[in-house]
């Protein structure tokens, strides 16, 4: 089934039900469906054709949700871009997938315009008279003729090479992943989900896609900066489902006035992006005794791999569980063969939800997607090391590469190092993750200066101009030299180890 069909079916079934709540904006399914149809027709009038890429460069605004479904109804694929993306990265993405249209917001227009440069890309900005005209489009929508093995989206993810890669997902991939997750969470049309996760992050995006599939209600928040205000909204909207990342859990656990956390309707909490420390799992359960807590693990390349059934938390709090329904997850040795219980290997995923590859990047694709045990199989090598216990429950050990997970976001050290190396006054730089009680890991730069006058503040400030905010180093340490491997390469591992000793 194609993803825009989720919306059309829910609009037929529950037209008057609230689909979306964003601040003061409330949209029923009938309104959501009608507005996206008109916006899609407008996109077609702007020249968007089936298979075209449409970037949705917005924060968690109602317009972002409209844009995503409008792109699909026009037969195009959408690519959600984090609102904190800076010009250089957006420039790269535009060059990589050559979108015909970018939908954005007023505050992001300068970044979008600079990134587009002299390329021909239509820009439609929410909150302008042009946007109002688009939503009032009278030209009928032209059937696009697409089917569900067509691409639905590209999600750009940072790889160890530091260059963003566009994960290609078909409608059928999304159909399979969303059905699997809905099955184990046991979510229904009666659920009311509050999501703070950005729509540009697949965790946030799937809150929208699954809510629309179910005909449930999604309450979108732009930020968790004011937890008490978010919990107030949860009480008012009678929220039943609350997706967390570990940083949010850490913020909640720092709160002193526990009455502000009381949400009687809350039925389930999920965690992904990085593991919750076992101690935090216990405390979250104590704070929300009536909510089932799901520990989950996944990566953008297949959306979700595993979940821990909540009943297992008592005995296996440190596990991320078992394969999600209708998929397989196994630990493999370097030759791809499954290993015995207790043996560490790479987690491999088989199922209808794994990506089609990285957009126009066959080399990176071949590293991740490899032949499986059947002649027709392609399986996903996650790049993450795991072992399984005797009952088959999976435990995360570490990453094969050096990706830093901070605030639930992935940071490729090389991407940050490239920016540092581009600064005058820096001779050498290596970027590592250091443990942080709130962020999970914090980004730390270790720098050898060629200009001794250069300060930590100047480096961080320059990095903040070039990188998304979660990638900007939180601290900079100056050294006279960086640890090197025998072959003379700067060693990130040795640099990280040298920090642990201090």
């Amino acid at each position: 089934m194609r993803v825009e069909t989720f919306l059309q079916q829910s609009a037929d079934r529950v037209p008057d039900k609230t689909a979306l709540v964003v601040g003061a904006t409330r949209l029923s399914y009938a309104e959501f469906d009608a507005q996206t149809t008109r916006l899609a027709a407008h996109l077609q009038r702007l020249g968007v054709k089936p298979g075209d890429r449409v970037l949705v460069f917005m924060d968690n605004a109602a317009e972002a949700a409209l844009s995503i479904f409008a792109a699909l109804k026009a037969g195009a694929l959408f690519s959600p871009i984090n609102a904190s993306t800076k010009t250089d990265k957006l420039d790269f993405i535009i060059g990589n997938c050559r979108p015909t249209t970018i939908l954005t917001q007023r505050k992001l227009t300068p970044v979008a315009t600079t990134a587009i440069g002299d390329r021909i890309v239509a820009l439609l900005v929410a909150g302008t008279p042009e946007w109002d005209l688009a939503l009032a489009e009278t030209t009928p929508l032209v059937p696009h003729g697409g089917i569900d093995i067509d691409l639905a989206m590209l999600i750009y993810t940072s790889g160890s090479t530091g260059r963003p890669k566009g994960v290609m997902m078909t409608h059928r991939n999304i159909d399979a992943a969303s059905l699997s997750i809905i099955t184990y969470l046991e979510t229904t049309t009666d659920d009311i989900i509050l999501s703070v996760a950005p729509l540009a992050f697949d965790y946030g995006l799937y809150q929208l896609l699954m809510a629309v599939r179910l005909g449930a209600t999604l309450v979108l928040e732009k930020s968790f900066a004011f937890p008490a205000a978010v919990f107030e909204t949860m009480r008012r909207e009678r929220v039943t489902g609350f997706p967390l990342v570990p940083t949010m859990a850490a913020m909640i656990l720092q709160m002193r006035d526990l009455a502000t956390l009381d949400v009687p309707t809350l039925r389930y909490i999920t965690n992904t992006a990085a593991a919750l420390p076992v101690e935090h799992i216990k405390r979250v359960r104590d704070l929300f005794p009536n909510a089932a807590l799901y520990s989950m693990y996944g990566l953008t390349e297949c959306k979700r791999c595993t979940y821990l059934p909540p009943a297992q938390l008592e005995t296996r709090a440190g596990s991320v569980g078992i394969a999600i329904p209708n998929t397989e997850a196994y630990v493999a040795a370097d030759d791809g063969e499954p290993v015995a219980a207790g043996v560490i290997g790479e987690l491999v995923i088989r199922g209808p939800h794994i990506m089609q590859g990285y957009w126009e990047n066959p080399i990176a694709t071949a590293e991740r997607l490899r032949p499986g045990r059947n002649p027709w199989d392609k399986v996903l090598y996650t790049g993450d090391l795991f072992y399984a216990d005797a009952e088959g429950f999976l435990f995360f050990v570490g990453r094969k590469d050096d990706i830093i997970k901070t605030r639930g976001e992935k940071v490729a050290p090389k991407e940050v190092e490239a920016v540092l190396y581009a600064m005058p006054g820096i001779a050498e730089a290596v970027v590592v993750g250091v443990p942080d009680p709130v962020l999970g890991q914090a980004v730390k730069a270790i720098v050898v200066r060629s200009n001794p006058e250069l300060t930590e503040g100047e480096i961080i400030r320059a990095a903040a101009k070039a990188l998304e905010d979660f990638m900007v180093p939180k601290s900079v340490e100056f050294r006279d030299a960086l640890p090197k491997t025998d072959t003379g390469k700067v060693s990130r591992r040795l640099a990280a180890e040298s920090l642990e000793l201090t």
Binding site: K222, A225, F226, A228, M251, R461, A464
Partner: protein, 86 residues
């Protein structure tokens, strides 16, 4: 220095790393303008508690009190006023 200017200096020094090119007017929403993120608000709260000796309850950490420099200054002013009066 006024409370608003002290808070402005703290934000410039700690969240913008000395970059003074941003519009940091008293009424600018810190969140909408992406001037501070979720964890930064907690640092701001800690700064307010330490600098002005006021206690900030979780229920006080809401946009009405902390989403702009003007609002933070007004919140601090009201708290200091209340403790002086008591």
């Amino acid at each position: 220095m006024t409370t608003a200017n002290q808070i402005r200096s703290f934000i410039i020094e700690n969240f913008l790393f000395g970059d003074i090119s941003h519009d940091l007017g008293d009424d600018v929403s810190l969140i909408d303008a992406d001037l501070v993120d979720s964890t930064a608000i907690l640092e701001l709260v800690a700064y307010v508690e330490e600098t002005y000796g006021v206690t900030v309850a979780d229920a006080d950490i809401v946009p009405a009190n902390f989403d702009s420099i003007g609002r933070i200054a007004a919140f601090v002013g009201a708290r200091i006023g209340a403790s002086v009066a008591a």
